[in-house]
């Protein structure tokens, strides 16, 4: 087992736990808001922004997990019916490309965070808006790492699963 692969698996475990906690908190808060609004004609001022920020966190963690499991939405028309070896080469190429793009997005997200911090706007509980925004550079960096890992994976570890199968499962 590759050392990098090991690290990725540990991150994956932590992500999984964080995802469950945040999603539970989100469902709970969203429901509590509805109960308060409709039965007691009141509501938590921080409820809606909290829920919306949790969506961002859960969604982007989901996107990072999709990268690990190869479940991003793709159109792989050209790959269908290609010989296995050519496929392998092209897959590495697309992973390398994706890694570079995610790297650029990480950079853009860091700039975004810096600008937000400079503007000093605040969201619920007086938290500066850049704090919940941190999930963007974090998950983009993780996706850069994960696509890179797949691009440079040793041949023996490459799993061959056709797109049809992986989509059906």
């Amino acid at each position: 087992m590759d050392r990098w692969e090991q690290i990725d698996r540990e991150i994956d475990r932590a992500e999984g736990i964080l995802l469950v906690l945040l999603l539970s908190l989100m469902i709970g808060t969203a429901f509590l808001q509805i109960v308060l609004r409709n039965l007691f004609a009141t509501g938590l001022a921080w409820g809606d922004p909290l829920v919306r920020n949790l969506v961002v966190w859960v969604g982007f963690i989901g996107a990072a997990l999709a990268t690990r499991e190869g479940k991003h939405i793709t159109i792989d028309l050209l790959l269908r019916g290609m010989p296995q070896r050519t496929r392998g080469v092209i897959e590495r190429l697309t992973h390398l490309f994706s890694s570079v793009i995610c790297g650029l997005l990480t950079f853009a997200a860091i700039k975004f965070i810096r600008n937000e911090a400079l503007m000093g706007s605040r969201t619920f509980w007086e938290i500066p808006t850049w704090v919940p925004g941190l999930i963007l550079p974090a998950t983009f960096a993780l996706m850069t790492f994960r696509f890179g890992l797949r691009a440079f994976k040793p041949l023996s570890l490459q799993t061959h699963r056709t797109s049809e199968q992986s989509k059906a499962l």
Binding site: L19, R52, G59, T94, L104
Partner: protein
């Protein structure tokens, strides 16, 4: 230079690079040439991710995955069987109705073929329905519910085209019902022709099935009632649905043990994450296209050759069927909708009606030979050769095409409920 870069991106897109990286690459390229800071793209993405619609997408997806992992499909089939099983062709109507309901809730057509088909196909064969008919039925009823709320593709269409979700939900109802109705009539005719034995109606069976599914029966009311009455916002209806399904399946029926919840959360959020990141990255690109008046230029080009809206709609249908056959529904919506919507509007087509045409086309395209995704899934799931799946699907596809023509050329069907 730019042209070359775009060419490379298109090649990568069709070679299976994740769609969001293609969109991001394009947007970054455009921002770079326009000398705009790349963080502009992240601002757009963050803004989209914090809109209330995303709350709805996330919660409905979670509820759908919970339902698909529970025994709800089995109870749903049991109930419709008890109520409608005595009709000629009853079981095939059951297949159509339950698949439509299931796809509407989960929004994933492949999931319906896998989850429902696995139960329905053996039941149909046991009920002595012809094999070819049964196979065609389970393959093609997978997409049937896309027009019914709270189907995920409708919500995504609303986000991409900036239409009201509630209006689209209403607009989809009549075309969706027409589809179910005509397919049911066709199935009854087939069942009668094949002399499928009928079962007797038992009052006891009905009351037992109702008791079994008692807690799931109010679900459509929770989803639809809230949305249509305008009493709840869509995101609120989604939250109520998620909590309700969670309590019913985990606490009351105990179909899903607590220990399995993290896995279901993970699976559903992977889908949500995939959609969120594509929507976020496509937004910048769409805005650029509109700024650069690309759709208007396209319209001028098309207008020079096609005068009548009638012909335009025909070509649009052919084009969308091909798109639906080649791409999965979410990528198709995100890539094509922003380009076509302004052109169609210039031809005087109502945007809501256009949405229903889009969704109907993509739905049919997904089971259109030679490469519709549903055909592959069905072939894998039921362990049948592709050629056979295609052959048995043809009568269903022909009928669906007739319905498509009706939906396209009778705008009233889509617009009656929203006026």
């Amino acid at each position: 230079m730019i042209f070359f870069a775009i060419l490379v991106l298109v090649f990568l897109m069709f070679s299976g690079a994740p769609l969001f990286t293609i969109f991001s690459g394009l947007t970054l390229l455009l921002l770079f040439t326009g000398q705009i800071d790349s963080s502009a793209m992240i601002i757009e993405m963050y803004r989209l991710a914090t809109t209330p619609i995303l709350v709805a997408i996330l919660l409905f997806t979670f509820a759908g995955y919970l339902l698909s992992e529970s025994k709800a499909p089995r109870r749903l089939i049991g109930l419709t069987d008890a109520v409608l099983g005595w009709l000629p062709g009853g079981l095939s109507i059951i297949a159509l109705l339950t698949c439509a309901g299931f796809t509407a809730l989960t929004g994933a057509t492949g999931l319906t073929i896998i989850a429902m088909g696995g139960i329905l196909l053996p039941a149909l064969l046991r009920g002595r329905y012809p094999e070819a008919f049964s196979l065609g039925l389970v393959t093609n009823s997978g997409t049937l519910g896309l027009l019914f709320p709270p189907s995920l593709p409708i919500i995504v269409y609303a986000v991409v085209s900036k239409l009201s979700i509630n209006q689209l939900f209403l607009a989809g109802l009549l075309p969706g019902l027409l589809m179910v109705l005509l397919l049911s009539l066709f199935s009854v005719q087939r069942a009668v022709a094949a002399q499928v034995p009928r079962t007797r109606f038992h009052r006891n069976r009905v009351s037992r099935a109702v008791r079994d599914a008692l807690w799931e029966l109010p679900l459509p009311l929770v989803v639809l009632g809230g949305v249509y009455s305008g009493f709840f916002a869509v995101s609120e209806a989604a939250a109520i649905t998620a909590v309700y399904v969670l309590i019913v399946e985990v606490v009351i029926y105990r179909d899903i043990p607590w220990t399995q919840l993290p896995q279901i959360m993970r699976k559903s959020m992977i889908l949500v994450g995939g959609i969120l990141i594509i929507l976020g990255s496509a937004l910048g690109f769409t805005n650029y296209l509109i700024d650069a008046e690309v759709p208007m230029k396209m319209f001028d080009l098309i207008k020079a050759h096609i005068g009548s809206p009638f012909l335009f709609l025909l070509l649009l249908n052919v084009f969308l069927l091909i798109v639906g056959c080649l791409m999965d529904i979410f990528s198709a919506l995100i890539v094509v909708v922003p380009l076509i919507t302004p052109v169609a509007q210039a031809y005087g087509i109502d945007p809501v009606h256009l949405g229903i045409i889009f969704l109907t086309n993509l739905q049919i395209g997904a089971s259109t030979p030679p490469v519709g995704m549903n055909l592959f899934i069905s072939s894998l799931r039921f362990e049948q050769p592709m050629v056979k799946i295609v052959r048995v699907s043809i009568p269903f596809i022909l009928l669906l095409l007739v319905i498509l023509a009706i939906v396209t050329y009778v705008p009233w069907l889509s617009l009656a409920l929203i006026r």
